[in-house]
Point group: C2
């Protein structure tokens, strides 16, 4: 492994430059305005895979954004690792809150600031560079396949079809993903599960046009007021979600699982201080780690209606809207939840308004078996690289396609992320520590080494 | 009066052209981007007053937008009418809902479509043209003063100071305003009261930055969710407003007043059909006419927070905002109500968020004495011009400065409006019927005639 270490050491400056080039693409998949940038990003990724030594590299078209595929098959008898990542990023707005331009990566005290720095460009590109290091030093111990998509931030609508249509090509022994976070670099951790997601949009219509709030106010239902009342009713006084059937099938943790989970290092005061909040919030009877890691939630991601400009406009709006998403846990079927939400939301609407509910996207929750060779390999790789055994954690985020891989390809996923919760994913000033970037590149080859050994036992 | 009639008849096309020119100024007082247009509108109005025969015309500077003053004193022993109006208009957005450009007046089946067509350019300009007709035919029966301001749509912040500082100059026997509506041209009506207003803006802050709704969702208070819960709590199950002390001092109508009010021609089915709503909404125990005319209300005029762009963004927003205004009735002090709202809104905020409340503007409610010579003069003028006695009505809108005139100048106001509730005030496609515009110009001189007679009795 020394030769790999040396190669990485010698090439660190270039590895960073290449990441910067990747981060300069504004590959925002949610906004059609960036279409050409997203497409250009796919071509860039494909070229970098070729440069690193991948074969059969292809930018595979879909009805949405393309999926970049590449592979290196050294021996069919050796195990195969399928690396998944995504080259698309979240929208950067609100732009005015960025200290430096989101698509001009800037380094401040050892951190790379840019949209996508951590989620997921900085993390998936570690694999491309680790692969390059293994190739150039003749140290690739198993076969490797790359599948880097461009629609993760908008629900991976076309990945499912692609996977189903390419089972042979994608055949592997494990899926390896770096798109999650660790507790810290001093306390490395390893995700054992992810939450599912159901993302909805609602539209409440009152009168057929904006009205003068003096002439009509008090006599015609105000859709903004009604929307607020409907959203307020979705949580009860214990912050339980009130949608009938929502919790059906939710797997409750055993006392021991709860004990393990809560034994993870976590400083509530630090947490509140970092967010500048006086009190945390959430479902009664659960700790903060349980609330984010093991419980389903419902969040308003956006709300708008009426006059939102400068000054005052005495209008009774015709329409009000909200984007509402639910995080799901094992035992919840995201499509069923989407239906339950729709039925319930329509059912609680008073006759004085009309309601329209639209489904954006979603995915199932996932739990990794910690006794698998792949999980053990990741565990050992982190232990060796950090000099400290990782803490098993349950992440609150979602990578909807993880469940899909198991369904379609029949293989498990290992979530070996190197980000931090404080990396401002989906927020202004997203960052990724240069230290974490390099640490990931150094740790990945160790995973391959241990995985090859354990699989061949 | 025949000579006035003839003069108006001969000049109708020009009167319409001049109104179009006035409507082409985008005098949006709420949005600083239109500053120069608003100022240009003031100059235009001043010039038209001079052309009509007014003296001592002045564009009076204030710390905001100027007030246009002009007068014609024919004899100090004659009564004096102070005409008030405003040359500023509401913002035109949402622009995409206009069928023709808001600042390019367009006539469709006898109606002038433009922002400000009715509120208030079309209505105050009737007075300028009626004045011109009386002047050119030597039929002005009393003294007249004009005070046309440019900040009515943003709270008339500087009018109060101006009036207080110009009591001599503004001395009059009555204030005459055309900035309200009639039931219809077949059923002319006359306003006997207006509601007061208190316009607030609230800001709810959760975490100090937008967060990933997966990583933090369910564990940190979402300001959009909390704002919805707070707004929802402002009405109880009977749609009574829950702010402690809100109804203190509200004057309840007598059974007879209620009977009179509800005897006004009103077709609930037509009302619902026009707005395309299945059910009306409002305070239990009151009719629609009572709800808008005699009861205080609370409306969300705008709400926003989080991601409102295309597609999906899984963000837990840092902030959520709302513009909330209350319509007030006689017995409610608008400044006290603003304080009560602020205290209450802050008091119901959970510790997990921070709340900021800002006061936009407001004004007191007003009721006209129906036995005054001025009200009687308006009543007779309408009866003569429409061939039908007007129905007394209570309007839901607010002209905060009406109460101020009484306070500062010690004179009553007559609200002789010629608009219609269906004129889309503050909405896209605001309109004003050419018929109403001409009808107003014909009716105003009759008011002057009757007022001069009644005052001199």
């Amino acid at each position: 492994m020394q030769s790999i270490k040396n190669y990485i050491e010698e090439n660190k400056p270039r590895f960073l430059e290449e990441l910067f080039a990747l981060l300069r693409f504004p590959s925002v998949s949610a906004d059609p305005a960036y279409k050409n940038d997203v497409l250009a990003t796919a071509d860039f990724v494909a070229q970098k895979l070729r440069d690193a030594g991948a074969q059969n590299v292809e930018v595979c078209p879909t009805s949405g954004y393309p999926i970049v595929y590449g592979e290196k098959i050294i021996n069919n008898n050796l195990p195969t690792v399928l690396v998944y990542g995504h080259y698309d990023v979240q929208p950067a707005d609100p732009l005015e809150l960025w200290h430096t331009p989101p698509f001009e990566p800037t380094v401040r005290d050892g951190k790379i600031y840019a949209r996508g720095a951590c989620d997921d460009k900085g993390q998936f590109y570690m694999h491309v560079k680790a692969f390059e290091a293994m190739m150039h030093t003749d140290n690739l111990p198993c076969n490797i396949k790359f599948m880097i998509e461009g629609e993760e931030e908008v629900g991976s609508d076309n990945l499912g079809k692609f996977v189903a249509a390419n089972k042979e090509r994608l055949a592997a022994d494990v899926v390896l993903i770096s798109d999650t976070s660790m507790i810290s670099m001093e306390t490395p951790s390893l995700e054992t599960g992810l939450r599912g997601l159901s993302y909805m949009e609602v539209e409440v219509t009152g009168p057929n046009r904006d009205l003068h709030s003096g002439v009509y106010g008090g006599a015609v239902a105000n859709p903004a007021t009604i929307l607020c009342q409907m959203i307020a009713s979705l949580h009860d006084e214990n912050n339980h979600i009130t949608i009938p059937g929502f919790y059906d099938g939710v797997v409750e943790l055993t006392e021991e699982e709860r004990k393990d989970l809560n034994s993870a290092p976590f400083d509530l005061e630090e947490y509140k201080k970092d967010l500048e909040i006086e009190e945390v919030w959430g479902e009664n009877g659960y700790s903060t780690l349980e609330r984010t890691g093991t419980r389903p939630t419902l969040e308003v991601n956006g709300i708008w209606g009426g006059y939102t400009g400068a000054g005052a406009k005495t209008v009774l709006p015709s329409k009000a809207f909200a984007k509402i998403s639910m995080r799901l846990v094992p035992g919840q079927d995201w499509e069923k939840i989407s239906e339950l939400f729709t039925e319930h939301f329509v059912s609680i609407a008073p006759k004085s308004v009309k309601v329209k509910v639209t489904k954006h996207h979603g995915g199932a929750a996932y739990v990794t078996p910690t006794d698998s060779p792949a999980f053990q390999a990741a565990y050992q790789a982190i232990e060796e690289s950090f000099g400290k055994a990782p803490v098993p954690t349950r992440g609150g985020g979602s990578i909807p396609i993880v469940a899909l891989f198991e369904e379609e390809l029949g293989i498990k996923t290992v979530l070996m992320g190197f980000g931090l919760d404080s990396d401002n994913l989906h927020s202004p000033n997203e960052k990724y520590d240069i230290f974490n970037y390099y640490k990931g590149i150094e740790t990945i080859p160790l995973f391959f080494k241990h995985f090859a050994e354990l699989e061949n036992k």
